[in-house]
């Protein structure tokens, strides 16, 4: 049983495999050299290195190359043209306008696909893995889908907002999200008017973003919260507070009365103690353990302490993440190689830890979609369920085969993936292993290490035996071909789906 306190791991217990675990969970894994480097820092410095990432240069790709104007609202002149054409039943003009709209939409979808690739590339290349990992966490938490809003620039703006506040303050994220154009459109708050309130955003703020479903609020609180949020809308790409549509009357929310606005509403909701427990629970499921069902007593105890840490720090996330990543609980065997990798984690971790070629980014995005995680297109406002929901008989084969693609660059003919002949050599993963006579390391040692490195846990003896037998039958040494075959088959083992 894992301890139920935030008690840190004993520094001397922080070894290579603990560093390996930390890098997988707080980021997307790393090569043996990177794991070794992290291990040699010691626990505190290693955690600081991960968490205090601002000191690491952000040399990933720039964000300003997207067009903000593909889906811009029509100008007054364009509106007038459309009005006139409608009035005169001028079919030719109406048709032209429709065609132009279709073309803009097609261009915007193309840009969305490019942005998707850009984010995956960023996750692969960044020196600040926690920043991207937390951005991904918030994308699933404040889930917003391009499918509904059909404006790629708004998705970019939201993504940048989430990244800028990824490990800042949860409160700040909540205050920001009620002014985020993508969210305002996704949850219909642009329709939330004084005389016809729309409850969607108010409901999800309590149910999904801050408190959790059914936790400590009533339908009446939602109704009153919706009134507080009236007039919170956007024009083009910017938040607008529309005073005329705002209901500035008295509201009674969570037992308090006042002429509350949206910020007041968020403040009142954040003040509930269950808020910190809800977000701590979500972080726990993302970083520590995603077993379905009610958490056991020790887990619950740990989450409560994490939540208290969060309240004590005014919803600052870094102290919480630091405490989490230092805790003995985080490194407990029950919590090691226990989390089902998200599709994005699976792909990015494979590339980063084994240094495979990234191949074709659109193939990676497509595969991730096939595995159930289409970035910028979460299935609904609840985001991705995660855990076991990632796994079924279809996704399991895609999970196995995307690794084959990364290793070989060969794709099955009917997938629209690009063939790529960059040759991958995984023997570098074994380079640091000691050998007796300057030659290659013993096959059993190398196989055992490779299994542990890829699976994150002590390999079962029957797995080692099976692979050693394979090597013996195929020349008896681990050359590039044999190593690639080993990596492919280990990645198809059920345990590889865990990290």
């Amino acid at each position: 049983m894992a301890v139920n306190s935030l008690r840190p791991l004993k520094p001397r217990d922080f070894d290579y495999w603990k560093a390996h675990h930390l890098l997988n969970r707080a980021g997307f894994g790393g090569t043996p050299d990177q794991v070794q480097a992290l291990a040699s820092m010691g626990l505190d410095d290693a955690v600081d290195y991960i968490v205090e990432y601002e000191s690491i240069g952000d040399d990933a790709m720039p964000t300003d190359r997207w067009s903000a104007d593909i889906m811009r609202p029509p100008t007054a002149e364009e509106q007038e043209t459309a009005r006139t054409a409608r009035r005169n039943s001028d079919e030719a003009t109406l048709e032209r306008l429709q065609r132009e709209r279709n073309q803009r939409q097609a261009a915007d979808r193309k840009q969305m696909a490019d942005i998707q690739k850009w984010w995956i590339r960023r996750m692969i290349e960044t020196g600040r893995p926690l920043e991207e990992k937390m951005t991904l966490f918030w994308h699933g938490h404040f889930a917003t889908s391009y499918r509904t809003i059909e404006d790629s620039w708004h998705m970019v703006l939201q993504n940048q907002f989430l990244r800028a506040n990824a490990t800042g303050s949860f409160a700040k994220l909540c205050f920001g999200i009620i002014r985020d154009p993508a969210m305002l459109e996704y949850l219909d708050n642009d329709q939330n008017r004084r005389r016809s309130p729309n409850e969607n955003l108010a409901r999800e703020l309590m149910e999904l973003f801050i408190l959790g479903e059914g936790h400590d609020y009533t339908e009446q609180d939602i109704k009153e919260g919706a009134r507080a949020l009236t007039g919170y809308t956007f024009r083009d790409d910017a938040f607008v507070f529309n005073r005329r549509e705002h209901d500035d009357g008295q509201k009674r929310i969570l037992g308090k009365t006042g002429s509350f606005d949206g910020e007041d509403f968020v403040r009142l909701v954040l003040a509930r103690p269950v808020a910190s427990e809800f977000i701590a629970w979500k972080l726990y499921r993302f970083f520590v353990n995603d077993l379905p069902g009610t958490p056991d007593k020790d887990t619950q105890g740990f989450i409560v302490k994490l939540a208290k840490e969060m309240r004590d720090r005014d919803y600052q996330l870094k102290p919480v993440l630091r405490a989490l990543f230092r805790s003995e609980h985080f490194y407990d065997p029950d919590n090691t190689a226990a989390l089902i990798k998200s599709p994005v984690q699976l792909v990015v971790q494979a590339i980063r830890s084994m240094r495979t070629p990234a191949r074709d980014l659109s193939a990676l995005a497509a595969a991730s979609d096939l595995m159930g995680q289409n970035l910028f297109f979460p299935p609904n406002v609840k985001g991705w369920d995660g855990g076991r929901a990632w796994i079924n008989t279809s996704t399991l084969f895609v999970r196995q085969n995307i690794i084959v693609y990364l290793l070989t660059g060969k794709r099955p003919n009917t997938y629209a993936w690009q063939e790529d002949d960059a040759v991958y050599d995984p023997t570098h993963l074994l380079a640091h292993l000691p050998s007796l006579d300057g030659g290659p390391p013993p096959v059993r040692d190398a196989t055992t290490y490779l299994l542990r490195f890829m699976l994150g846990s002590d390999p079962r003896p029957e797995r080692v035996d099976g692979l050693v037998a394979f090597v013996e039958r195929n020349g008896g040494r681990i050359d590039t071909n044999v190593a690639t075959a080993l990596v492919a088959v280990i990645a198809a083992f059920t345990e590889y789906q865990l990290c």
């Binding site: 079919e91 030719a92 048709e95 429709q98 065609r99 279709n102 499918r147 509904t148 059909e150 995603d290 077993l291 190689a337 226990a338 989390l339 089902i340 497509a366 979609d369 096939l370 299935p379 609904n380 855990g387 076991r388 796994i391 079924n392 008989t393 279809s394 399991l396 084969f397 196995q400 085969n401 690794i403 084959v404 290793l407 070989t408 060969k410 099955p412 009917t414 997938y415 079962r460 029957e462 797995r463 099976g466 692979l467 037998a469 394979f470 039958r473 195929n474 071909n481 690639t484 075959a485 492919a488 088959v489 990645a491 198809a492 083992f493 059920t494 345990e495 789906q497 865990l498």
Partner: protein, 430 residues
Amino acid sequence: MSSADHAPFSRRLFIRQGLTLASLAATVPQFIQDSALGMMLPLDALTSSRPGVPEDRVLVIVQLAGGNDGLNTVVPYGDRNYYNYRPAIGIGEPGRNGQAALELDQGQGIGLHPSMASFKSLVDEGVAAVVQGVGYPNPNRSHFASTDIWETARLDGKGTGWVGRYFDCTCNGTPVPEGAVAIGRNAPLALQGEIQKPVSFESADLFRWLGKDMHPALEQPYASATRAGVLPEVDEHSQAAFLMRTALDAQVSSDRIRAAVAKAPLVQYPQGNLSRQLRTVGAMIRDGMPTRVYYVSLGGFDTHAGQAGTHANLLRQLADGLGAFHRDLKAQGNSGRVLTMVFSEFGRRVRQNASQGTDHGTAAPMFLVGDMVKPGVLGTHPSLTDLDGGDLKFTVDFRSVYAGVLDDWMGADAAKVLGKGVKKAVVVRS
């Protein structure tokens, strides 16, 4: 073995009866273990149909992606307005030279696109129906949004898929493995439930691990790692155990589906992507898969420009594919237990555009095929004079067609899946 004694129902019985022997073995796939739990329930708790409706009925859904031009598919040649709106791309009346419609209902002045002779034969045989003017209120002209509306059967297009909900409502908290199968890269929203998740694959040959192609000797370590089920000393509630069970399920499904598809069909299918998919479905039905809903699709219907040739080609693929599929099922002796339903996310505007094509519109026909279909031309053709901003007004709500299929074909409680207040369209013979 004849197809009759290899029906899914008997497989279900086999699974139930074989339980006491099998349920404790480590290598039992998850669905058998799940059925073992089912044993504790009353005998009918696992059945999904109303009493009196056979358990082995199958629904095949065909999606025409992109928005099929209904007016050039089911042609209202008797209405002069049709030719006024479509001077360049209209389909001529039956009997004319060139592109002439195939007579479907002389009284109504309704014909079929000339490429659809195979489908016309099905109607003549009394095993196919056209449902006219299908749509929904406040039509959405976005491909995404309208597809979501059809697939969720909700006007806001949000939530789970309607077929997924059908399984959720009937399967007692346990997903039905292979219950819903989609042929295609992505599993459609229609088949996604809270609990029920579809199996999907582009082609059966890809529904397997491709690493074996790298090195044949990998087969053995791969098989031992993925076919072992839950290994000893692994906590059965852990994620690892869950993965091991699912991996075994995947292997069993893969073997079974690939074996089924490897058999040559009883009839010849035409070339083309839709036919290939229907052939796969036919093979799986013949093999007695327990699948109750299949989903296939044909894309390319977004005919904004120069549509005549493209559209003719697509409709030929559709009609010939449906024809071959029906003959295959008939030869198998299964045409009485399979119903095929064809839909598209919207029809197209009544007036052709300046590029000899058509833009996104509203209502369009649906098609149904099967021995048990109420045959002929159902519903009334939408008016060409009473338009809504240049678009057809729907005459049949698509949810009422779903309700008819759920109620009368699948034996489900349509209200549970679609909500109350959906009026059922009678599309199945009583």
